[in-house]
Structures are given as C-alpha cells and as structure tokens.
C-alpha cells in the first residue's frame, strides 16, 4: 500500500520509478572509442563466451562449437548438438559448458538439466568458486537465452542463482526472483550476481552492490588485483524505460511485431531499416551522432574490489563492436567478446589506463 502511494506521489512529482531517467555516461563511464578501435583477433558468427583454461590457453564458445584460440587461429575442440550459452573450467581443467537448459561437465556422464527444484531454462553464465562448486545463472524460468527480449518486455523476475556441486550434482538455490541473472562470481566477501533488468550487481542476499548502471550487465570476470571486469551487453535508453511503462502498447508490439524490430536494447543495430529509430539517431550531414540514444552499444567496465567503477571501454552509437558479453583481463591485455559483431577484440591494459587517467595499481 505504502509502495503504491509512493508510486502515485512519485508519478506526480516525476520521481521514483515513474522517472525515466537513465544514468549518464560520466565519471568512470566517460565515453571513449577504445572498444571500437580495439584489435580484431577473430571474427566468427555465433561467438558467445570465452574462458581461460587452467593451462593458460584461451577457449571460445561459438554456436555449438568449443574452439581453442592460439595466435589468430582456432581449432575445434568439441562440437555439441545445440548452441553453447556459457563456458567455464573447473580447477582440475575439466571443461563445463551450458547448452541453454542443461549443463555438460567433461568426464561426467549425462547432462544436468535441473537443480534446486526446477529445471534449468536459460543458463546465461557459469563460474567456479574457490571450493570447487559451480555458480549457475539461470536467467529466467519462462524464456530461453535467445528470447531474452521477451523476458525484458514481460518484466521477468524469475531468474535464479544456483550453486552446483560438480561431483555429486547436488544443487543449492542461492537466490531466486532475479531479473535476468546473467553473471555471477565469488570474491572474498561472498557471491556477486548481475541482474540485467535491474541494471545492477547484487550481493548474494538482498543488498545491491552497485548503483544503477548505464547499461545491461552481463558476465563478470575477476582480475589479478581482486577487482572485476563487468561486460554490459547494451546501453540503456529512456525509450525502453518508457515502453516498459506502456503496458498495452508493449503487449501489442509483442503480439504483432517481429522481436528484431521491437523497442528493446539489441546486441547490434543499424543493419536493418525496419528497426525503430529515435530522433537523435537521424543522420545529419551524413553523420550518425555518437551521442544518439543507443539501441545497441559496446561497453565494459573495470570495477575495483569494492565494485566501484574505475574505467570503461566503449564502442559508441554508430560503431560495430556492440553487445559485449564477456571481458577477460590476461596479464597486460584485455580481451572482449562482442556478440553483436561476432568478434574477439584485444586492448592493451596500459593503454586503457592511460586513456582513462587511471594510475597503475
């Protein structure tokens, strides 16, 4: 009741949820073109996730295939019967992949398709804890990974964070009711999980670990100094927040229009003129302004151990390297996977630091 009253008041005063404001790109999020100008190591449709194996090699997931990457060349390690949606390695070097609604652990017979009282639906991310268990992000109870736009547009809050013991297959529910859980990691203080539709990181339990982010968070990876790289697969724009308030318009849009042309964030944009366009995105004098409201955007942010943003890399509106889903820091290089363009990108860590004015740790 109080909540309702507060919302009505907020509507009158333009505050709370009725406010359509989104965080601006400033401070650590000040835009640059580091992602757009990054070296392209590999271009391959269907790139989805990557991980560094315990032996130090880089392993990629693209479509149904697991690929080993070395010096610009890839070779197929394994091929599955459906598309891979997440990839990680156990401490003993065994590979773990998620195939949307099930998990396949190398050397373990049979796939795990349920845990903690419910079958998996949309496994978006996997990571390993110090005790050797797996953190599984199950984005939604209703929509598969490919249908994430449906989950966003129905204001989905059915995601779960599950802890899975790879030996016994026993699963514990760490948290449910998440608005599209899309990345999780264990650090010294517990477990961090990304909630995409709420635009923030959350600590296992109830507290938020960050404020509202200017994008939709995806996977999160650790760095050597105890910090994190958080990938944001799309930038936020006010029109999406507005459409989320417009129930009947949203319903009719979902019923009658192809999801490619909805008003939603996207992993890539600009290829098809049937996509919605906003006034700021109308080209003037042949130029698409980089500050135009983003339908798709490339963004990854480096957080310190307390989840404070330090610096970020961008590919702005009009660029290609959008839809960043995984970012890894390996010694002095930062690798980013752009799902929107199907490219593996490399940036130099010192260069990012210098460009962002962050002194060496």
């Amino acid at each position: 009741m109080l909540e309702f009253v507060a919302d009505v008041m907020g509507g009158l005063l333009g505050r709370r949820r009725s406010s359509l404001s989104v965080p601006i790109l400033d401070g650590a999020f000040r835009p640059n073109q580091l992602l757009e100008e990054a070296d392209i190591l590999l271009e391959r449709p269907g790139l989805e996730d990557m991980a560094i194996a315990p032996d130090g090699s880089l392993v990629l997931a693209a479509g149904p295939e697991v690929l080993a990457y070395a010096q610009g060349a890839v070779h197929v390690l394994e091929r599955y019967d459906s598309n891979i949606t997440a990839l990680t390695f156990l401490a003993d070097g065994r590979r773990v992949v998620a195939l949307g609604d099930r998990i396949v652990i190398e050397g373990r017979a049979g796939a795990i398709d349920a845990g903690a009282g419910r079958s998996f639906t949309a496994i978006t991310a996997l990571s390993v804890t110090s005790s050797g268990t797996l953190l599984v992000c199950d984005g939604s109870a209703h929509h598969s990974c490919d249908n994430w736009q449906y989950d966003l547009m129905t204001k989905g809050r059915s995601g779960r964070l599950v802890q899975l013991d790879p030996k016994s297959g026993k699963a514990d529910l760490l948290q449910d009711g998440l608005a599209w859980a899309s990345g999780a990691i264990e650090d010294g203080k517990g477990v961090l999980v990304c909630e995409s539709w709420r635009h923030r990181l959350r600590r296992d339990g109830k507290r938020d670990a960050t404020g509202e982010l200017p994008g939709y968070p995806a996977r999160i990876t650790p760095t050597a100094d105890g910090g994190f790289w958080l990938s944001l697969f799309a930038g936020r724009s006010q029109i999406v927040e507005f459409v989320l308030q417009e129930g009947s318009f949203r319903r009719e849009m979902m019923e009658t229009i192809d999801p490619r042309y909805w008003i939603t964030p996207a992993l890539s944009s600009g290829e098809d003129f049937m996509e919605p366009l906003q006034s700021g995105g109308v080209k003037h004098m042949g130029i698409l302004k980089p500050w135009a409201p983003p339908r798709s955007y490339g963004l990854a942010v480096r957080l310190d151990a307390n989840c404070n943003p330090l610096m970020s890399v961008h590919s702005r509106v009009g660029g290609k390297h959008h839809g960043i889903v995984t970012t890894l820091e390996r010694e002095t290089e930062v690798l980013a996977l752009s799902k929107g363009s199907g490219r593996l990108l490399r940036m130099d860590l010192h260069h990012i630091r210098a460009a962002s004015g962050v002194t060496e740790a």
């Binding site: 359509l20 724009s237 006010q238 029109i239 507005f242 417009e246 009947s248 318009f249 009719e252 849009m253 009658t256 229009i257 192809d258 042309y261 909805w262 008003i263 003129f273 049937m274 996509e275 919605p276 366009l277 906003q278 006034s279 700021g280 995105g281 109308v282 080209k283 003037h284 004098m285 042949g286 698409l288 135009a292 409201p293």
Partner: protein, 701 residues
C-alpha cells in the same frame, strides 16, 4: 475499441488546448474567469448583490480605484512598484477639497491644479528612482510615510476650514454625482482614459518603450531608449492617475477624512496582479488592469456585505495578493513548459500494410543497390540541399540551410558560388525557361529569384481559415511547387503547426496539418485550395494540365487533385501503401514521375501511429532526441506512372553512399538527388532516358 479511439480522435479537438495556451490573450482570459467566478459566488450568497442601484455606485468606486490601478500598472509594466499611491491619493483629495471649498477655484482650475500636484508628488519618486537609481520599493515606502505624515499634519490644519465651507460649484458636483445618458460621468471619463491607455500601450511608440524597458532594461538601454526618463515619467504618471482618482473621490464624498487612502496600495497592487500584470515588468494591459480592479472591488464589497470585519477582509485580500504573486511567478516560469507539453497533440492514423521491401519478396520495392554508382557533387560543401534544379546551361542550383541558393557550374560541378541569398531555407524549387527561379522558402513563403539574381517575394500569406485558432494565414512551411499551364503556381505547405526547424515533430501528430495553396499571378491572389492534408510534400502537374499529383508524407500516399476541367475539385488516392514517406515529385523524361522516398516505415512507428495517447505521453515524458522518429536514414527513388503503378525503384542499400533523399530531378540523361539532412548532392546516369530532357517550366509570373 479501436473505433472508439478513432471517434475520440476525430471529434475531440486535442490540439486546441496547446494552441489556446500560446495565445497572448489567454492571459487576460484567466482574470476574466476569476471575475465571473467572484460574481457567481457572491450573487449566490447575497441577494441583490448586483442590482441597478448598487451598480451605479459600484461603477463610481470602480473607476476611482481604476485610475489608481492604471497608474500602478504603468509603474509595474516598466518594472517598478509604487507604494506611495495611497498617500498621494489622500494628499490630492485634501488639496482638491482645499482648492474648491476654501480657495473657491472652480472645477477646471481645481482639476488641473490637483493633477499637477499629484504629478509632482509622483515625480519625486520618479526623480529618485529613475535618475538617482534608488530602489523603487524603499523609495516609495519612504514617500508613502512622508506623504502620509504631511497629509495628517495638513489635515489637522485645514479640515475644519474645508468642512465649514460649502462651495457653490455645480460643475464640481457634476463630476461626483452627475450622469450622462444615465451613466455616471466618471465612467465616461474613465472609459476615454482607458481607451487612450490601451492605444498608448499597444499602438504608440512611447507605450512600446514602456513595455520594452520593463521587459529588459539593459537591452532597452542598449537599443538607445531613454530608460531613465521613461522610468521617471512612469512614476509621475502614477501620481497623476492617483490624483485623478482622488478628484472624483473628493467630489463624490467631499470628505477630508484622515483615513482616506489608507491601505490603498495593497488593494491596488492586488488588483493589478490579479489582473495579470507581471510583478517583474514587461507585460500588462489596460484590460488586465480593469479586470483586476473589478475583481478586487467586488471582493471587498462582497465581503463587506457579508458583514466581515475590515481586518478580516484585509487579511483575505492580502492572502489573495500573495497567492496571485506566487501564481504569477510560477506561471511565467513554467508557461513554455505547459505549452510544450500540451502543444504536440497526436492523432489516430492507421496505415495500410506497406508493400514489402525484402530482397526476394518479388515486390517492386524489393531492395536493390541501383544507387550504388551515384557520384557525389559538393560533398561537405553544401548543407541541406532539399531540392535541386538545373537550368538550360546545365548549371545546378540548390538551397542550403544558411538561406542561400548555391549554383554549381557545369560541366563538372566542381566550382560553386552563392547565387542568391534569401535568408530562409530554400525547399522546393522550379526553374523557368527564362531563367527565373521560383523557390518555396521555409518560414518565409514563395519567393522568386530573377535572372539578375535579385530576389523578390511572390507571396507569404493566404486566406485565414475561419475556425483556426492559430493564425494560419502566414506560410510557415511552403515546401514544393509546380506551375500549371496557365501560370498558376500550386505549392504545398507541409504543416501550419510547426516551424521549419521542428518539422519532424509533425510526424508525431499525423494529423491533416498541411494544405495546398494556389498563387495566381494574374490577380496576384493566394488562396488555399485543399486543406487537412497529412504533411503534403511533393507536388507535380499531371499530363492533362488540369490536375496535379501530390504526396502526403506521414500518410504514405500519393493522391491526384483536379483543379480545373470537368472533374474540378476531385481528389483521388493513387497509391496508399508506400513502404516509406514520400517527398518531392518530379517529371521523368518518359512521361512518368519520379518520387523521392525520404524515409522508410518501421513496424514500431506504424504501431505508434495507431496509438495517439502513447505518442502524447512520449512527447511529454521524453526529451525530443529520445522520441520515436520516422526512419529518415534510408531512402529510395521510385518511378511511378500517373495511375500509380510502380515502375522502378532505386535503393542504396546501407545508405553509405547517399543517406536520405528528399528530391530528385532528371536532366539530360542524369538524375540529380537532393536530401534535406545531407551534405552532398547525388548524380546518377540513367541508362535509357531521353538525353535531351530538361525539366523547365513556363513562367507567367
């Protein structure tokens, strides 16, 4: 459900609210409503609140007060405040009575002398504030006290003398009690003064100076207005008006009472501000002062009749003053926001499904890359060439957003010059055989550029429609033209509700805001021939010389209109399911027509067109850059026949080479392409076109 929505948007006039708010007379309408409310309230509470007997007395009081309010209004308009009016009023009352009763000067001499005294008392304020730059509030508060003290002292000396003499001055009594044609004399005089004041403020240079100085003193000074003098004179005028009120008061009551004019400044200020005269200066009118006066007077009388104590009624009046001042500040601060929020008023529009554009759809609109080989002319050198024309020597002319007409020289179009400067953005153009150029100029109207480069206005206004709230006689956005065989110029005006720079906003409305207008060079008359068109854009004469084809952008349709002949007046839709927003139409060498598609439809935008309330909320809640827009980043060129068959479609896939197309012109085997958001002109070789074809008109203008 949809039918209800349709009916609601067809018959409920959403747009008038925003349009009304924009009108400056709306600010007078508010106090008028307050006045009516006050009358209604007290009439319901008090029997005979308004009666024949009371009305004559009320009018006398109103006019006395009205004079003082007029004086205060002038001071307020010039940006000051005059608190001393009450004391000046009292002193003038005393002085007039002394002149007439004790000195026996007679009516004319007394009136003149009192006005002079009032003017002088006010001039003291004026001198101190205007020339010595003292604060108006403090200065007039000091003179309020000083004059009040002077009044008390003099009153003690002369009151007995005044009361002892009964002058024989019928002219004087006539001022206070007489009537002319059953209306009190004071009303006639006040009426004349009020009309004079209205003429002064709205029609005379000096009145404009007063408004200008109140609006912005520094700018007024910088433009050379005598700020100090005008400010000083306004206080003198205020004193004189107070004296005028006092004269009638004196002749009506003949009372040198010590309480005269006490608290008058609060009443007068309340009246002025309730009437809608700005505290900050620069705005106000005689009408507002009148309405404010009536409101306050009826309020005080009403409260008196309801047996409220003087203290209570003064508290109420002061509270009203405070509220009015607060409203004044809030309203002026937020008015433009209210207008902005209310002005955009979307309409219901359901478009037929578009013809498919997919590559393998088999539709005539299937994507191709026939525009891939477009050469560019003037890349980066020309900004916003909406239309292009060529003359018989192959030179190319286009407009730009700086208000020039630029000429590119044949044969290679590498050199260019400013051919003529118009000032507004040139949109549609037509080249005549004699080298005269007719141009539709955004925000200005229809213009002509002669061979000697002189520019001249052809027309910039049409007949005003009877029921339109906004003034639609001016041409806001004339955008394409063609010339009929008899010399009449037909041109389209895209919208009457938006200016040149905000035309994309019209796409959110999808209402028939546009029209087709005809200029007849024989009679030099301009008349609107077709109304309620949805962003009419391109216009081209059909082959029969009696009809024209026109494109309506947001409605995605092409229609034909017969302006002559047996079918005169008929409008027939030729195509109504274009996959994009049509713009200019021009002739092709094979007797067909070229049509520019400036943007393509997207499913979400089409859906939004069916949901006006969604669009209205969007325009209120989101900043302009976040609004959904028609996709103007991709366009194409279509060749259609007079019957609406699509003969050819030229796409530029990806829009890399030539983003945005608003016009094209065929000339000697080439197609020249313009675009309003472009920084280039395109040129495409046409394979099977008549190499001698030129698109020149016969000018009769």
């Amino acid at each position: 459900m949809n039918t209800l929505v349709k009916l609601r948007y067809r018959f409920w006039p959403d747009k008038i609210f925003g349009e009304l708010l924009q009108k400056s007379w709306m600010e007078t309408a508010v106090p008028l409503l307050v006045l009516l409310a006050v009358i209604a309230f007290f009439s319901a509470r008090i029997d005979t609140f308004i009666s024949i007997t009371s009305i004559s007395d009320l009018l006398r009081q109103a006019c006395e007060l009205g004079f003082v309010v007029l004086g205060m209004s002038i001071v307020l308009i010039v940006g000051g405040i005059d608190l001393s009016v009450g004391s000046i009023y009292a002193l003038s009352n005393l002085f007039a009575l002394y002149c007439i009763n004790v000195l026996g000067l007679g009516m004319p001499a007394t009136v003149v002398a009192t006005l002079v005294v009032g003017g002088l008392l006010g001039a003291v304020n004026g001198l101190l504030i205007g020339y010595f730059r003292m604060r108006a509030f403090l200065t007039t508060m000091v003179t309020l006290i000083v004059y009040k003290a002077a009044n008390d002292m003099l009153n003690a000396k002369v009151a007995v003398q005044i009361s002892a003499n009964f002058p024989d001055a019928p002219a004087w009594d006539y001022l206070g009690a007489g009537t002319l044609l059953n209306v009190p004399v004071i009303v006639w005089i006040f009426g004349l003064v009020a009309i004079g004041g209205h003429v002064f403020l709205t029609r005379l240079r000096a009145g404009w100076h007063v408004l200008a100085i109140g609006g912005n003193r520094r700018s007024a000074y910088n433009t050379g207005l005598p700020v100090k003098r005008v400010v000083a004179l306004s206080y003198a005028a205020s004193g004189m008006f107070a004296a005028a009120g006092a004269i009638f008061y004196a002749s009506r009551l003949a009372s040198p009472g010590a309480d005269t004019g006490k608290g008058l400044e609060i009443v007068v200020l309340t009246a002025a501000i309730l009437g809608g005269i700005r505290l900050g200066g620069g705005k106000g009118s005689v009408m507002k002062a009148l309405l404010g006066t009536l409101i306050v007077l009826l309020l005080t009388n009403g409260m008196l009749r309801m047996a409220m104590s003087a203290g209570a009624s003064r508290v109420i009046l002061a509270t009203i003053l405070l509220l009015a001042a607060l409203l004044d500040i809030r309203w002026f601060k937020n008015r433009h926001k209210a207008v902005q929020e209310l002005y955009v008023s979307p309409n219901y529009m359901e478009l037929p499904p578009p013809q498919p554009t997919a590559r393998d759809s088999g539709s005539p609109f299937a994507l191709n890359d026939k525009l891939r080989d477009v050469e560019t002319i003037g890349l980066g050198e020309v900004e916003a060439p909406e239309d292009v024309v060529l003359d018989s020597d192959n030179n190319l002319y286009c407009g730009n957003r700086h208000g020039d007409i630029v000429r590119f020289f044949a044969p290679d179009y590498k050199r260019h010059e400013v051919y003529a400067h118009i000032g507004g953005q040139p949109l549609g153009m037509a080249m005549c055989q004699d080298g005269t150029l007719l141009v539709c100029v955004g925000g200005m109207g229809l213009y002509r550029v002669n061979r000697d480069r002189s520019t001249e206005k052809v027309t910039d206004e049409t007949n005003r429609s009877l029921l339109s709230i906004i003034d639609d006689s001016r041409l806001r956005l004339a955008d394409d033209l063609d010339i009929a065989p008899d010399g009449r110029v037909f041109f389209s005006e895209a919208t009457v509700r938006y200016e040149m720079h905000e035309w994309p906003t019209d796409s959110l409305e999808a209402r028939g805001n546009g029209r087709i207008i005809c200029y007849d060079p024989k009679t030099r008359k301009t008349t609107t021939v077709l109304r309620k068109l949805v962003f009419p854009n391109g216009i081209v004469m059909a082959s029969d010389g009696q009809s024209l084809l026109f494109a309506e952008s947001w409605a995605c349709r092409i229609s034909r209109y017969w302006f002559d002949g047996p079918q005169k007046g008929k409008v027939e839709v030729v195509i109504n399911d274009l996959p994009g927003y049509p713009d200019n139409l021009n002739r092709a060498s094979d007797g067909n027509y070229w049509l520019a598609i400036m943007g393509v439809r997207s499913p979400v935008f089409d859906l939004a067109m069916k949901r006006p309330a969604f669009r209205r909320r969007m325009s209120k809640k989101l900043p302009g850059d976040e609004w959904l827009a028609p996709n103007l980043n991709t366009g194409c060129i279509v060749k259609i026949s007079e019957q609406g068959e699509v003969l050819d479609v030229l796409w530029d896939l990806g829009g890399e080479n030539h983003p945005m197309i608003t016009s094209m012109r065929e000339h000697r085997g080439y197609l020249y392409i313009g675009g309003i958001h472009n920084n280039r002109i395109g040129r495409l070789r046409l394979a099977d076109a008549d190499a001698e074809f030129v698109d020149l008109k016969v000018s009769h203008a």
